[in-house]
Amino acid sequence: MTSGELFLQQLINGLNLGAMYSLLALGFTLVYGIMELINFSHFNVFMVGAFIALGVLRLMGLDGQNVILSGLPLVAVILVAFVVTMFSTGMIGVGIERLLLRPLRAVTGPAAMILTIGVSYILFNIILIGVGGDTRNFANPLPSVSWHFGEATLRLRDVLIWGITIVLMLGLTYFVQFTKLGKGMRATAQDPEAARMMGVEVDNVVGLSFFIGSALAGASGLIFGLYYNYAKVDMGFSAGLRAFTAAVLGGIGNVPGAMLGGVLIGLIEAGSSQLIGQAWADVIIFSILVIVLVFRPAGLLGRQAPNKS
């Protein structure tokens, strides 16, 4: 492997990591942007989504690495898996909001955020007891297509995950910034009282934003499973920590910022693994986060939030 090929391969590795972190950070930062609520249950909704996807694929006869599909069956299977998974996790999100967060909406302070930590543990333990704590093999129906640049390899699924992340990022930005519903969401975030007076159905808007955020978590779970081919009960905590960091680094609440943060962290992780050692990757990532937050407390793309009174 020449140093050029090595650089290229680590660049690809870093972008893969970055895309995965961004994908997870998107739904998380969306809910924050609309609700101004740090929703820690997001990452375990993601984990539950991965297990739902695992179950759906298994029901369709896909188990382990034995079945490779192509063409129409592949598209159909993936589509069904996406729809079922996203709808299920979306409904979980709606349930969390309707049953647990809505009664707390009038309460100021960190109560709602702490509640989401509790929900996170409840989801974790439901899966731990119901499914078990061991690593599950996730189906991989994608054909193993790849392109070679010398000894560097770019796989089909690398391109897919980059593509999905960019499309979702653009779509969400458009939705939040330019659609009527998105405007209603932002209005609700800024001042629910005034939004209601202007005719925004606040309860519906909040419920919808939870549905979208949680559906995105489910989609990330499915994509994660297809990409890494495993599902495990602790996957939400570990991937979630990096994704949370990505959202904060990019500017929490800012959709393109989440992607920028994710890609930066991915590249730093790959670079430090190559140059210093995997053991030091976390130290470097979090040092950079601290430095960025000292000079730009709102994150790289974040704006100083207007003072809510």
Binding site: M1, L6, Q9, Q10, N13, G14, N16, L17, M20, G64, Q65, D134, T135, R136, N137, E151, F224, Y228, N229, Y230, D234, M235, F237, S238, A239, E269, A270, S273, Q274, G277, Q278, A279, A281, D282
Partner: protein
């Protein structure tokens, strides 16, 4: 670490619990000596406990039947260190059992326990009473390590003997195996940042340096992270012949998947942390294929003639087949019988003090698990580390350890 693989095999015949003695062929004037046997007969390990215990029962029954030690009759007394509340072995119960054995002067030696956790609780008590015990399966190095002598043998003399090797040799002997048997020239070492993983990887690395096997690098994985492709790309760029992973399945199964993609041709190996169902189930095939794994106990080799003769005898008595720890238990019981035989032949008294000293110098050149001799700490001098390799056998269940882990042999000692 004791593996649970044996639990999947059919249970061997169940011998009556409690005390039993075989009187056939014994003279009325024979002196009866008691040997305690501590096993986890209640809970998760009960099936393997019975199979392991049957190894000792067979040895003593035969010794009594054929009058192997003239004038001595062995009485094997069972103790259960498993409790219903613990659902498995309970160190507190193991300690109670040890106290019972120590307080009865009729006990001249003991066998067991299965688990290192029970062994740690028993060893200090046995040391106070100078009662020697031989474990067939507990492999934690600390119990016999002179560094911890004040804790585990406060009286100084070794009382905790083993017919298994300790985990401390898994790393070094695997290094020998990779360098000499497989013949690789360079290796990259990863661990999973856990106590077991770091320890086994350190010992592997140290031996590599002694052997002149080139260590291209050493890194530490976050067991909760999903993606190890960056460090594996680095290993690829270094053109390493081999990859050694010290750690358990949590990082291991993800590593196996990604190694298969990024380093399909590399020679890959680990300790008993990956010798388990988790690798087969979590990583699956083809990713699991080809991994070498070590285990700190001898393995029943069905091709061996002596082993076959033993299996037949065992099967005739208990209607089932022995497993690896049945062998080590049988050999442990034989070591006690040999020791008593030597003492009796020399006209010395058979007490727990003389038996302990006798075990220290007992020599069995040709036991079922090879030469048996104990060093001054109670460890086997002949360090048997078995090497296995995952070899896909599509005709058998893909998640069954016995079918998919092929026994390769014993790793070279040096």
């Amino acid at each position: 670490m004791i593996s649970r693989r044996s639990a999947f095999k059919a249970a061997a015949g169940i011998a009556a619990a409690g005390t039993f003695a075989v009187t056939e062929g014994a003279q009325a004037a024979d002196k009866t000596v008691k040997v305690g046997m501590d096993l986890s007969l209640t809970g998760a390990d009960s099936e393997s406990a019975i199979r392991v215990g049957n190894g000792a029962i067979l040895a003593f029954e035969d010794a009594n039947k054929y009058g192997e030690v003239p004038g001595i009759k062995f009485d094997l007394v069972k103790f259960d260190d498993g409790t219903a509340t613990a659902g498995q072995y309970d160190p507190a119960q193991a300690a109670t059992n040890a106290r019972k054995m120590v307080s009865d002067k009729g006990f001249i030696a003991a066998l067991g326990p299965q688990m290192s956790g029970a062994g740690k609780a028993m060893s200090p008590i046995l040391s106070e009473g100078n009662l020697a015990i031989i474990t067939p399966s507990s492999t934690n190095p600390d119990i016999t390590d002179p560094k911890f002598a004040a804790q585990y043998r406060p009286k100084g003399k070794a009382v905790y003997f083993r017919t298994v090797t300790t985990d401390a040799y898994q790393g070094p002997n695997m290094a020998n195996f990779l360098a000499k048997t497989v013949g690789i020239k360079s290796v990259y070492i990863l661990d999973d940042s856990g106590a077991y993983g770091v320890g086994i990887a350190d010992s592997f690395q140290k031996r590599c340096e002694e052997l002149g096997l080139k260590v291209l690098g050493r890194d530490r994985l976050d067991p909760k992270a999903a993606d190890y492709s960056a460090v594996l790309t680095k290993i690829k760029s270094l053109n390493a012949d081999g990859l050694y992973y010290g750690g358990v399945g949590q990082a291991g199964v993800k590593l196996a998947k990604q190694v298969y993609e990024i380093l399909p041709k590399i020679v890959k190996a680990g300790g008993d942390g990956i010798y388990g169902v988790e690798l087969l189930k979590g990583a699956g095939f083809p990713a699991a294929d080809g991994w070498y794994a070590s285990n700190a106990s001898p393995h029943k080799d069905d091709g061996d003639k002596k082993m076959k003769e033993f299996s037949d005898r065992f099967n005739a008595r208990f209607k089932g087949s022995p497993d690896d720890y049945t062998l080590t238990m049988y050999v442990a019981a034989r070591a006690i019988i040999e020791t008593v035989k030597v003492l009796q032949a020399a006209g010395k008294p058979v007490t727990r003090d003389t038996v302990r000293d006798g075990l220290q110098s007992v020599r069995m050149a040709n036991s079922l698990i090879g030469p048996v001799e104990f060093d001054e700490n109670g460890d086997l001098k002949n360090k048997v580390i078995s090497v296995f390799q995952v070899k896909k056998d599509a005709s058998k269940p893909l998640d069954n350890m016995d079918d998919q882990f092929a026994y390769i042999g014993i790793a070279p000692m040096s």
